[in-house]
Amino acid sequence: MSYLSLILQITLIVVISPLIGQLMIKIKSKAEGRRGPSLLQGVRELGKLLKKGEINPIGTGSAFALAPAIYLVSTLVLSAIIPLIALKLPGSSNYDLFWVVGILLIGTIALGLGGLDTATAFGGMGASRELMVAALIEPSILMAIYALSIRANSSNIFKIVHATLSNPQQIASPQSALALIGLVIVVVAEAGRIPIDNPSTHLELTMIHEAMVLEVNGPKLAMVKLASSMRLVILIGLVVNLFFPIGISYSTSSVGSIILGIVALVIKVSLLAGLLAFVEVFLAKLRLFRVPELLAGSFVFGFLAVTASYFLPVIKA
């Protein structure tokens, strides 16, 4: 049953992520007074890309060929090591938050190396910018992890969610609020959303992620697109479960609680994703060299969260 729920969790992420991505586009379109594409557009695009023949850019090597696959595999692995629908998954005692961050970075690096391997200015530019953002996210994300791990006395991600669930009053504490703000900024930056990067533009000199994958085409592009939307859903799912783990299944023994976990996750992720998309309507993309300021802000929130966790009294139920 526990292996089944693991497979269920991975499949769920794979299935809902194109839909959630499309939902965000739909909400943005509506807010801007447009109709927007259908919710199934993302799935259709993936299907179309899968049917296309591959074009190998002359001069690229195995790094370019492998990068999309590694990016997708790392994302699939990510979806297997995070408590999204259940608090116990096979191997969950080994899934540390620092490890999760490392896996996240491996995907970014694979794509960055693929971009550099194309030997074009666009590939290099995208890789350089993406890695700069990734390097500056690292302190913020680890600081937020630190803040969260203090109350659970562990950096094991399942233990942290468990601790929140068994002591829900902690969510209302200032340290949680500070850590949440820090993490949300990190998620926005890591997923390449406005105001860090604009996923809907092409051929704009300010873009980051899309520049890196400019040469990727056909089924490989499908992999990259799927993995990118999965990463967004996984990160949003991670944040909602770290702070609002309501509905997550305690164990993997009962079918009912797993179904409840799935439903709860879909609703929570859709809500937060919708909120993010709605807020994006009112924001403009930041200039690349202003991004570090935003990330430094996120770092400060994390820092304050840690300090608050040490100096403020612990709220006990």
């Binding site: 190998n56 690096i109 890789a127 910018r129 630190y146 690349l288």
Partner: protein, 665 residues
């Protein structure tokens, strides 16, 4: 900076160069390598015995007539002996291949086995004179390694800077050792810890600071790091591997042995000083590494970064000892040792690959490399593994140590007052360092090995010889072994912390790594298994859907309208790091030179723009160059007394002797 001339360039004619750089005979090279191998193998054996057996000590009057030669083994010396010995063994085949292909000055070649020998004896020394003797011998033996290119300007400069820094450090160490041994004459190093606490605090603090400066200069601690990026590009690849992987770690050995153990439990500010220096070094080192474009300079700065991380761990170890938290102290020490062991392995590997590139292509400037993945596959995979480790990512050997360090930080006890602030600050430093090292290593690997060659020489290169590749493969296996099963060095950590703090660290090292008192754990093999399963799944799906797709085509890349892209259009190491250089321009202070050439006097239509930008070490110009100028000024005053008159020299000598006599009585 400091102006000096070791050899007069004009005196060395090109014929003489040829004579001095005679192709090295096969027999000579085999002799050197066998000798080095013997020393390295015996060092490793002694290291294993030192760690697992009870402490041993012995002395002889044969060697150093006045003081006698005192040697001893304990787990601490064993650990550092193991790092240098095992790295030495794995480097030998590469050394053979390198020496067969490259013509080096004979002194450099002869210095290699001596260097390995002295490096092995430093941690074994059991009295202050013996220690200082071998320390200086090691420093001197390493100088010819740096002086491998005595005929070029930067080579001589590097040698001079290295010599100056190493002697500055040695002087500081000498005074520190004098203070330590003056209060406890004749006490062996291993027995110093129990005695020292009763000494005056000022004297101990002075000794602490001097020892920190002295050993810090060997470990490349900022601001004493300036020799690292100068010396490493000069030394032949296998020698830089040994210097960076093993010799630099001995600086940390000195800090543990003298600043922490010999001086006893010190004041809290000692520990905080260590953490602060470690933090500054880690961040400054990796920032410089991220903007530099020469592969060996980049690796040298990254060495400073790793020593900074190790110093943070050692500082935490010291802090927890002072706060009477022996278990946490043991964990911090374990983290520090793991960082050092992993650093020896991955930096050794990276420098060997850099050595292969140096030997096969002759260029280590990343802006002229590229596309090596297709022509040097073994070196590419080797550097990939080294880069993965150096970035502190999962499946890399450095991840374990950095993870343990992070665990030590996040499990700080609440009741230590305002000292808990060390937690978030240290974590911020480690995290920023980790993030920047990812960028640095992606740059080194992506620019140097992927893409297309940026110069003709890089395009025509071949994989290095089989013997050289043997070393690279051996170190690759060692890195992966440590990354997936750090249990292989579990005995090292256990024996070390038992001998130092009397408790076992609550770390369970094995294929699953965990802190036993908390529920934090990682299991690299499971992570790798998940990756393999995912990769197989994707491969199968691709195979399954392949029949529905048209045949793949080879097409030219999109060139923004241009038909064919030239290698010059690629991103370079400089452009890759440009955003970062801009963000951290306050710390890095890059040199930027823009020249605009206009058509008309109004500067409206620009004909050409020249932009020259080079990273440079701001600390070197701000601190050391000024210091050197000041020193020069003082020296020029003293030079007045040097008029060549023997009578005056005798008089001054006699006066000096009299002053010493009066002061000492």
């Amino acid at each position: 900076m400091i102006s000096s001339q070791i050899t007069n360039p004009k005196a060395v004619e090109s014929d003489q160069i040829k004579k001095r750089f005679d192709p090295m005979g096969r027999f000579f090279v085999i002799m050197i390598c066998t000798l080095s191998a013997l020393v390295a193998i015996s060092a490793t054996t002694i290291a294993l015995l030192a760690i697992t057996r009870p402490p041993w000590h012995g002395s002889t009057n044969l060697f150093l007539a006045i003081y006698g030669l005192k040697l001893a083994t304990d787990p601490l010396s064993g650990v550092f002996l193991l790092i240098s010995g095992s790295l030495g063994v794995m480097v030998i085949p590469h050394l053979y291949g390198y020496l067969r292909r490259n013509h080096l000055p004979t002194t450099t070649v002869i210095a290699i086995p001596i260097f390995i020998f002295t490096m092995a004896l430093v941690p074994l020394a059991n009295s202050t004179p013996t220690f200082f003797f071998f320390w200086e011998l090691m420093a001197l033996a390493s100088v010819p390694l740096v002086a491998a290119h005595p005929n070029d300007q930067s080579g001589r400069r590097a040698t001079f800077v290295y010599l100056a820094m190493t002697q500055l450090g040695a002087m500081a160490i000498l005074v520190a050792l004098a203070i330590i041994s003056a209060s406890h004459p004749g006490t062996p190093l291993a027995g110093l810890s129990a005695l020292s606490s009763r000494d005056s605090n000022t004297l101990r603090s002075l000794a602490f600071l001097l020892a920190l400066i002295g050993f810090g200069s060997k470990a490349g601690i900022v601001p004493f790091h300036i020799w690292l990026p100068k010396a490493h590009p000069q030394a032949p690849g296998p020698a830089s591997a040994l210097m960076s992987g093993a010799m630099v770690s001995l600086g940390i050995y000195g800090i543990i042995r003298f600043c922490i153990l010999s001086l006893g439990t010190g004041a809290k500010w000692w520990a905080i000083t260590l953490i602060v220096f470690g933090s500054i070094t880690a961040i400054y080192g990796i920032l410089q590494a991220s903007v530099n474009k020469d592969l060996k300079v980049l690796l040298a700065y990254s060495t400073a970064e790793n020593m900074g991380l190790a110093l943070i761990a050692i500082g935490l170890f010291q802090l927890f000892r002072i706060l009477h938290l022996p278990n946490l102290a043991a964990e911090a020490l374990g983290a520090g040792v793991l960082i050092l062991v992993a650093h020896g392995l991955f930096k050794g590997l990276a420098f060997l690959v850099a050595g292969s590139i140096q030997s096969e292509i002759g260029i280590t400037d990343l802006d002229q490399l590229g596309g090596l993945a297709k022509i040097m596959p073994v070196s590419t995979v080797g550097f990939g593994i080294a880069a993965l480790s150096a970035s502190g990512l999962p499946f890399g050997s450095a991840f374990i140590g950095e993870w343990l360090l992070l665990q030590t930080i996040i499990h700080l006890p609440r009741d230590i007052g305002s000292l808990v602030l060390i937690g978030p600050i240290a974590l911020g430093v480690v995290a920023l360092t980790a993030g920047l090292s990812v960028l640095t290593m992606v740059k080194a690997f992506g620019i140097g090995f992927l893409g297309t060659p940026r110069s003709k020489r890089a395009g025509e290169a071949h994989e290095s010889s089989t013997t050289m590749s043997t070393s690279i493969i051996a170190l690759m296996i060692a890195n992966l072994g440590l990354a997936f099963d750090p249990g292989v060095i579990n005995f090292v950590i256990l024996h070390l912390s038992e001998s130092i703090s009397g408790v076992y660290p609550r770390i369970a090292l094995g294929s699953r790594i965990s802190i036993t008192t908390t529920s934090s754990a990682i299991f690299p093999s499971i992570g790798a298994a998940l990756f393999i399963v995912g990769a197989i799944a994707i491969y199968l799906i691709r195979r399954f859907t392949a029949s529905k797709r048209p045949q793949p085509l080879d097409e030219i890349r999109w060139g923004c309208g241009a038909k064919e892209l030239t290698p010059k259009m690629q991103y370079t190491a400089t452009s890759f790091a440009e955003p970062l250089e801009r963000i951290f321009s306050d710390i890095l202070v890059p040199r930027r030179d823009i020249e605009t050439d206009a058509f008309d006097s109004l500067d409206l239509i620009v004909k050409r723009i020249d932009l020259r930008e080079s990273p440079h070490d701001a600390i070197e110009t701000a601190l050391w160059n000024r210091l050197a100028r000041a020193l020069d000024l003082v020296a020029s005053q003293f030079r007045r007394f040097h008029n060549g008159s023997l009578i005056r020299y005798l008089m001054l000598g006699g006066l000096g002797f009299a002053v010493v006599m009066v002061v000492t009585h």
